[in-house]
Structures are given as C-alpha cells and as structure tokens.
Amino acid sequence: MARVHATPNGLVEFSTQEETARNIEEQAWNDASAIRKLADIKEIRLQKLKETDYLANSDVTMPSYIQTWRQTLRDLPQNNTTESQYDTLLARDADGNLTNSVWTQPTE
C-alpha cells in the first residue's frame, strides 16, 4: 500500500520518486540503529560512573568492588560489539527499569 501525505485537503498518495526517497531515508535510519544504541549505552554508563565519582575523592577510599564495577562499565564498548549485545545491555522491564545486572552497583 502506498504511503500517504496528510494535507489540509485530505490524503495524497506518494509518487514513485517520493516512495524511493522515503525508503532511502528509512534505510539510513535503520542502518544507524547500532550506533544509536551504543550511544545510549555510553550515556547510561556515564550516569552510573558519575553516581560513584565521589568515592574517588582524596578523603575517601573507593572499595575494590566499586573499582572493579567501574572498570567493567568502562570496558562495555570493547566487550560488547554487536547490536544483539547492545540490546541485551539496554533491556528494560515493563516499568522501564534496566534489567541487565551490569548496571546494578554492587554492594560488596
């Protein structure tokens, strides 16, 4: 079924040229999916690192398990390189909460 423009005067079907242009546009968007997901992962990682930055202050000692976790977060891009791995990292529950355990700050 042809795509349509919604206009003040009703629906107007896409021309052949418009269909081609839209296909190219959507393909470009879909091709960049992995790049966008990696950017999301880096954004979440930055947020998680910021939450424990205070432990790097000179008047406190960062626990070793936090040091290990922070290094794991930093290594996420090099240890996860496929889109399916990105999907695993970005998985969320029905409430929108991240479900991958790598995002959970360890307590011991």
Binding site: R3, V4, H5, P8, D40, L90
Partner: protein, 244 residues
C-alpha cells in the same frame, strides 16, 4: 392589500421601533460563508448619539494570529503532515503548534521545508543547521540534560532523542516559530521552539528547546512534519500567521 411605496420624508425616523422589526430580518436573508474586506455591518455609533452607520469588515478589530491550516489524523497511519502553499508574503512570522505520535518505537521527529507552492516538493539539501537541548528526568527521578545538533543536515530536527511509540500512549508535542520562510525581509529562514516527549530507549521524559537556520537562500512555501522512520497515527498540527 396592495403594496405601496413610502415616499422620502413620508415616515418618521423613529416610526419603526424594535418591537415592529420582523424577527426574520436577519435569518431570512441569504447566508454567506466568507467575508470580503468591504462587506458591511450595521452599527450604532456611540460617538454620534447612537445613530446607525456601517463599518466594513476590514476595519473590525481582529487577533494577532490568523489560523492558516490544520492537518490531523486519528488512529489512521499517514507518513507525514504536509502543508503546501501555507507561507506567503502576507506574513513574515508563523506559529506552529501541535503533536504527533509515531507508529514505530524509537524514532525522532523531523521537518523539511517545501518549495514550489501548491504542488510542493521537499527541500532536502544539506543546508539545515539545528541544535537541540533537552532537560530530562529518568525513571529513578534523576535529572540531567542532553545536547544534540548538526551543522549541515538534509532536514530540521525537532529533537535529537528518540520518541516512544503510540502504544505507550506518548507523543511529541511542539510549539514552534518560523521566521521569514518566504524571504520577505531577509534571505534566510530561521526557527526555534519547545518540545515535550518521552524518550524511547531510556524512558526518560524530555522537555527541550530546539532551533536552527537555513544555510541556503531557499524560498519555502510549505513545511512537512514526519518521523525518521514509520508513520504518524495520531496527531494534529496547526499553523498560524502573525499579523504584521
């Protein structure tokens, strides 16, 4: 009873008062659905003892915004909202308000100017310069901000973050101003606005500002709103002209 003509001066000015007016005096006439500037309204002139006079439509006070066009869809998939021949020499400034909801999850809202009048085509040269600044709150109540932008894109962006799809009950709402799309005053267009939406991948809620300009001397006669992929299945967008 035969009809007769009352000669000039044959009836007093106050001979026919309100109690004798036929109640169909107005509704018995032919209706019109649009007004010309020289159409006339009967008025009682307060500055002249209430004497009856007329005023033309062009002299009636009006608002500063004139509604030019609206496009909407309600649970029916369309690929874009297209407004052709909406920008003219009549106005230099336009206000655009509305919302659109995507059929596909994790897409971004965009627009393109249209050229060529009634049978317009997309202006897709890489001459759009835009930036977006979004304030956000995430599901853990943490707040922050994100910035995006591009200096030579083939479209204008409403946001640089993806939007949640319709099935999540969300949409992207905009309040946007477009300046001089027909180059009535200068040789460039510019725009800015505010946007409100739920991000798809992080579930963060964003309220942002966006804006940009054209790097080319394009004569924009229209504008098109769409998502980076998929369709729009709910939404309405209205364009107003700002009276000069």
């Amino acid at each position: 009873m035969s009809k007769s003509q009352i000669v000039t001066g044959g009836i007093a000015d106050d001979a026919i008062s309100e109690e004798h007016l036929d109640s169909t005096l107005i509704t018995g006439q032919t209706a019109i659905t649009s007004l010309a500037d020289t159409d006339k309204f009967l008025v009682s002139d307060a500055s002249d003892s209430g004497n009856l006079k007329y005023v033309e439509k062009q002299y009636l006070p009006s608002g500063g915004l004139v509604k030019l066009s609206t496009v909407s869809t309600n649970n029916s998939n369309v690929t874009n909202f297209t407004f052709d021949e909406v920008f003219s020499s009549t106005y230099d400034q336009y206000k655009i308000i509305g919302f659109i909801s995507p059929t596909t999850n994790s897409v971004v809202g965009r627009f393109k100017f249209r050229t060529g009048g009634a049978s317009g085509t997309d202006y897709s040269s890489s001459q759009y310069v835009w930036t977006h600044f979004g304030h956000r709150v995430d599901t853990s109540h943490a707040v922050g901000s994100d910035i995006g932008g591009y200096a030579s894109e083939s479209y204008g962006a409403i946001s640089s973050h993806s939007v949640r799809e319709t099935t999540n009950g969300t949409f992207q709402a905009i309040d946007m101003n477009v300046f001089d799309p027909r180059r009535n005053l200068m040789s460039r267009q510019t725009w800015h606005g505010t946007v409100n939406y739920q991000n798809a991948t992080s579930d963060r809620h964003f309220v942002g500002t966006f804006g940009g300009r054209m790097n080319d001397n394009v004569d924009a006669t229209g504008i098109k709103f769409y998502f980076s992929s998929g369709d729009i299945n709910y939404g309405v967008i209205t364009i107003f002209g700002v009276v000069k």
